[in-house]
Symmetry: C2
Subunit: 344 residues, 2 copies
DNA sequence: ATGAAAGCGCTAACAA
DNA sequence: TTGTTAGCGCTTTCAT
């Protein structure tokens, strides 16, 4: 009735124990690499296990207080190349530390943070990586209270007690804007991201500061709202292009919107970068597929994923490790979508 | 000592039972939607659980013979947009059926099929989705033997006993080639995929058949080997372009290689589609980001993922369901990378 | 309709 | 160094 699983699990530590002529506890010791097992015994057990094709039952181990070697990863979804890159980094590091991965997507649960907690509470995972930009302080406090290990990836730490990784958003945006300025541009359009996010604010601020530093007056008309989606980049750009005095360059808060912007630009018959320069942020794979190849601010997405895992492992090894915040550097990747301003 | 997890699991069915004034068995019945619980009792239990913040422990449930509501997904990695699309479809359907997802990547284990079996045997997942093109018959037989539910996504079924989903590769390739022919092209280059895969062979065969049907002689020089990687598309195209009598159109066995091909074409100063037309296969998101937007053969990747999950669910519901093979249709998506042959 | 009791496969004291 | 004994939290007969 419970079919498969039981046939499969015909082989338990008891079977191995019998085959090896030892007790089940000894088998357990061997498989958990505990000290104090005679080499000969260990070999006997390993042999028996091999012969029977024994595989540990993670459920049982976990239930008995052992570890599952599984971590959770909560992401909005796979719709964005940005997230995929992070997941890839996570996967890489997981291979090194020999952990497995449960992937939870928030869109499956909506915005219901309480239900995210179930993922944490169901006993499957030892810790969780959070790639969710907007998490309430209550949610994080709940995790803190039960002492459940977690790491915020590219999200803010309101509590000050979280382990987290993020990047130099402000500096990246500053450099991107500065680059455009140095190419001679003065009318530089800006497409924002979702304003609630701290990364968005930091990029926005980097843009503003660069302008100020170079004594370029800030023109609110050149600042268009976006939401990180391709279409919002398209729309924002249409708006910018319709301006009486339109920008000669556009800095988009992410690559996906920059791609939308490129569509809008071409649609009105303008050339990139001859007529208008465009620069993005993220450096997702599509940035290279685009034509012209998109100049952008590189975020070390994969590395963020890797670092996230490492921070989780640190917490596993020592539950009392004080929280740690890591900031990774962004850098400008110059490709083909920008050029010096044509002065007619 | 076993720290967090235990604090977390302060609330068990016993706590709920006490709070509700019933036995633990009754609580279990309620949470498994079993018949024969008085409505009033059910309400009492639900209330108590709600109040205490009870969350089922999947480990314990599974160990006791219940279900985990978790499935496994074995993929090569997240490096390819193709795989990501499938995963997205899986995720969508999972949300509907309320299952969770363990993601296993083969590159973590190398080509060691035996170790994939551990994923199956560790008791965590109820079934597994295989997005691995080259799986030995032995491996599948092992799964069959223990009666473990699995579904092959876009992979061959050597045993004839597998549940599987794939697409009309042959027809797609035929139509793509035919489209090029109808645009007037006669020298049509072809970039193959990994020759060992049945999908690759089908696409190759579709190409050849279309040429034959239209009485176009097959020129081996126009057929270049690729491996589905971007760089191989680039290299293959360089080769094709160096031919004395170079092709006027190229059909690439996937989009990623087509993107590489576009780079190679532009590098020698040729224009797309004016000088040379290019068509891909897959319809990954990058196909639209590319410029010109890539004409390609659409594979319903997300749907493959969704159907895969459905086939798994069918097996859960009825372990005796005879195996089923589903083929989804591909279709030609005409965008901007092809045009009628210029006859000088 | 509900409760009592046994056991899923494993780990972790405690003995020996 | 090894074995014995108790659970971990849950589901599932079998009683009641």
């Amino acid at each position: 009735m419970t079919l498969q699983k039981n046939n499969l699990h015909a082989i338990t530590i008891y079977d191995v124990a019998r085959e090896a002529g030892v007790s089940d506890a000894t088998v357990s010791r061997v498989f958990n690499n505990k000290e104090g097992v005679k080499e000969a015994t260990r070999a006997k057990v390993l042999n028996a296990a091999q012969k029977l094709g024994y595989v540990v039952n993670l459920q049982a181990r976990s239930l008995a207080g052992g570890k599952t070697n599984v971590i959770g990863l909560l992401i909005p979804g796979l719709d964005n190349g940005y997230v995929v890159e992070i997941v890839r980094g996570v996967d890489q590091e997981l291979a090194r530390v020999d952990y497995e991965l449960m992937v939870y997507t928030t869109h499956r649960k909506g915005n219901d943070e309480a239900s995210y907690l179930q993922y944490v509470a169901n006993g499957l995972t030892e810790g969780i990586l959070l790639v969710v930009p907007l998490l309430s302080a209550e949610f994080l406090r709940a995790l803190d209270e039960i002492g459940y290990p977690y790491v915020l990836i590219d999200a803010v730490d309101d509590t000050g007690r979280s382990f987290s990784v993020n990047v130099t958003n402000w500096e990246g945006a500053y450099k991107a804007t500065e680059y455009l300025i140095q190419l001679g541009h003065r009318r530089i359009g800006f497409i924002t991201g979702i304003l609630e996010l701290s990364s968005t604010k930091a990029r926005y601020d980097g843009y503003l500061t660069a302008l100020k530093d170079y004594d370029i007056p800030i023109d609110q008309a050149l600042i268009a709202k976006g939401d990180f989606g391709k279409n919002s980049g398209y729309l924002a750009t249409q708006h910018l292009l319709n301006l009486a005095n339109r920008p000669t360059a556009i800095f988009s808060s992410n690559d996906v919107m920059a791609l939308g912007a490129m569509d809008a630009i071409r649609e009105v018959g303008l050339r990139i970068p001859e007529d208008i320069s465009i620069i993005g942020f993220d450096d997702v794979p599509e940035a290279v597929s685009a034509y012209p190849k998109l100049t952008t601010v590189h975020q070390p997405l994969e590395e963020m994923g890797r670092v996230g895992v490492k921070l989780l492992m640190e917490q596993f090894e020592n539950p009392d490790t004080p929280s740690k915040h890591i900031t990774l550097a962004t850098r400008l990747i110059i490709r083909d979508s920008c050029q010096p301003l044509n002065r007619e």
